[in-house]
């Protein structure tokens, strides 16, 4: 009997390249993680940047083959706790450590399903009716707050919030339906 097909060793790359590859692969998941934990969007962006820098500095400590995203989350979580202490400006909502820990633990618990959620969301966005595009882009693409959107679309802030809330609920339902149908 002959040997089965040999599996060649993995391609070796230099650390920078390896880091960039891993980061590129997991960047979205990491960004979603930070944005989930940090209520303020600009804070979240800052943390992501400093997190990437720290990860690069500490990349030598990363064990190849282990879970990059888990390692990245750990570093990000520290940055989030640190930011809380050194906050230069007070965000609208600040999260307390016990809350952060509870949410982080929940993310880890459901971690496997989260990338499916992202993929499902992408599909759902494609199916979003066109008349909802503008609202979504104003709120998330342009990062306008409700008051600005209200002004721009000539609506009350309450009405804008209602529309946004419904939009998110519809997307959430769509994501859930997709996930259910794919596991059924």
């Amino acid at each position: 009997m002959e040997d089965p097909t040999p599996i060649p060793p993995p391609i070796t790359v230099d650390p920078t390249e390896q880091y960039l590859l891993l980061l590129n692969e997991h960047e979205r998941a990491l960004a979603a993680y930070v944005h989930t934990l940090v209520p303020d969007r600009l804070d979240a962006e800052d943390i992501l940047q400093s997190c990437k820098l720290t990860m690069w500095k500490q990349f030598a400590n990363f064990e190849p083959g282990s879970h990059f995203i888990a390692w990245a989350r750990k570093i990000a979580f520290h940055q989030i706790l640190n930011l809380r202490r050194s906050a230069r400006r007070k965000p609208l909502y600040s999260a307390e450590p016990a809350f952060l820990e509870a949410v982080a633990a929940e993310i880890t618990r459901v971690s496997d399903g989260l990338s499916d959620r992202s993929e499902a969301l992408h599909e759902c966005l494609k199916r979003l009716p066109e008349n909802q595009h503008r609202l979504l882009l104003l709120r998330y693409g342009e990062d306008h707050d409700i008051a600005a959107i209200a002004k721009e679309t000539d609506r009350s802030t309450a009405a804008v919030y209602k529309l946004l809330s419904r939009l998110r609920a519809a997307l959430n339902d769509c994501v859930r339906a997709r996930l259910n149908s794919s596991t059924a």
Binding site: I11, L20, H35, T36, K52, A95, Y140, R168, N172
Partner: protein
């Protein structure tokens, strides 16, 4: 208190500080609310963090969604990062190329057609299409699953856990880390449950799965519920809904032909009293003399699939005493049977039949059963002489195989009688009973060159 409303309002600054604090406490103490918070917040976070790509996600046509994601989105923080990281990283985070989900780790004798992914060895692959015209390529998904693609095949890489086989065949080797790895085809979805398996499909969905080790789950449109297929079994679409044991190698696809050689004398198996045939041990059918392919296989795992080919050349009118060189040309053709990744680089032997009685086989009636000494193992020296050997590399294109050896010339010079008979035997076995069957064009092949004996004689002398 309706905290789900609290959750949503917190996304738009519609929550008072007190309400926010109450929400935090509730999330800490209530697991169900925590689950709900993460579910809703994750969606909001994705929208926030992928804002730069949002326009693209909304308006792009469905199929090419990952390919273009432009709209540079420069933020203060990103600008700061230029200083910190240098240009390359910034290119990464701004243009946000599709994430790499797999690596092309091996490409043997490959010719690619119409792929929108890089096709050099070592290339990182994002979601996209690989179209392999010739050869064999191995892809390692980031989940750990390895997929070997055999030409001609078209594979769409979707994620680290999923790919879609549009047509052709693949063998997947899935470690535990990639449990649940899925291969989709037009008509069925094969979900790995820790295994090694092969999948073949035509674009119309004539899809088959063969499990070599472990177990897979198959979802098929016409089956009310998923079928589990275990090692040694297959689920073949034409054979209905029951997984079964198959010895018959999987039927695959068809390809085309090539051209001959220099200015010698060419004698093919269709010249004069020539002929060609193959015999298969387990064959229930009659002689294969009019078959367009000469199938050859060696296997210890499914002995009934052992196949040998026989060629007869009419050398009438050739001055054999002055023969200077000789070579045998065989056109390798896809047999459509078996997976080449289950058969290593293969060695073949060419035998010259010396026993006049055995050499007098006829296309009209030769089968394994009446082939006598021809199919003995080992082949006796009184029956045939081993003249030459040749190799066919794994995944090699359907090329013309040329075999020449001094022993060839000697055999032809000294052989009595006007016709010579040669036998082709594969000496390399297979690692699974679904291994590739090699095939060469016979004289009945509609387009490819028949087995040809090229002879060079000393005309000048």
């Amino acid at each position: 208190m309706n905290f789900s409303d609290h959750i949503d309002r917190s996304f738009d600054g519609q929550l008072s500080e007190e309400e926010w604090d109450a929400l935090q406490q509730a999330v800490i103490s209530d697991p169900e609310l925590r689950r709900q918070y993460v579910e809703q917040r994750w969606l909001h976070a994705l929208l926030e963090s992928e804002s730069g790509a949002l326009t693209g996600r909304l308006s792009e046509p469905k199929e090419r969604q990952t390919a273009v994601m432009k709209r540079p989105f420069v933020r203060l923080a990103a600008a700061a990062a230029v200083v910190l990281f240098g240009v390359s990283l910034i290119l990464f985070s701004q243009s946000r190329p599709a994430p790499v989900v797999a690596t092309l780790i091996q490409a043997e004798n490959c010719r690619w057609a119409g792929s929108d992914l890089p096709t050099v060895e070592g290339a990182g692959l994002s979601a996209g299409t690989l179209s392999l015209a010739e050869g064999m390529a191995t892809i390692r998904f980031n989940s750990g699953a390895t997929v070997t693609l055999e030409a001609p095949s078209v594979l769409v890489v979707e994620s680290a856990m999923k790919c879609r086989l549009v047509e052709g065949s693949v063998v997947a080797d899935v470690p535990e880390s990639a449990y649940g790895f899925t291969i989709d085809t037009a008509r069925m979805e094969v979900i790995d449950l820790g295994t090694r398996f092969g999948v073949t499909t035509t674009p119309l969905g004539d899809s088959n799965v063969f499990v070599f080790e472990g177990e897979v789950k198959v979802n098929r449109d016409d089956l009310p519920e998923p079928k589990h297929v275990f090692a040694g079994k297959s689920l073949v679409s034409e054979a209905g809904a029951t997984p079964q044991q198959t010895d018959q190698e999987v039927l695959r696809v068809d390809a085309t032909a090539a051209s001959p050689g220099p200015d010698w004398t060419a004698i093919t198996t269709s010249t004069g009293r020539g002929g060609d045939i193959y015999v298969r041990r387990g064959d229930q059918h009659g002689p294969t003399g009019s078959h367009p392919l000469l199938m050859v296989k060696h296997t210890d795992l499914a002995p009934n699939n052992e196949r040998r080919a026989l060629l007869c050349f009419d050398l009438a009118g050739i001055d054999r005493a002055s023969l200077r060189s000789a070579k045998l040309a065989l056109k390798l053709e896809p047999s459509g049977l078996g997976f080449s990744s289950l058969v290593p680089d293969s060695r073949f032997a060419v035998y010259g039949l010396v026993d006049p009685d055995t050499a007098a086989w006829s296309e009209d009636d030769l089968t394994w059963k009446n082939a006598g000494a021809l199919v003995e193992k080992p082949i006796q020296e009184s029956t045939a002489t081993r003249l030459a050997e040749f190799h066919v590399l794994k995944g090699s294109p359907n090329r013309l195989v040329e075999v020449s050896a001094d022993a060839f010339v000697d055999f032809l010079r000294t052989h009595p009688g006007e016709t010579v008979s040669l036998m082709i035997v594969r000496e390399t076995g297979e690692s699974d009973r679904q291994g590739l069957v090699h095939a060469f064009a016979s004289k009945e092949h509609p387009s490819a060159t028949a087995p040809t004996l090229w002879l060079q004689t000393n005309r000048e002398n």
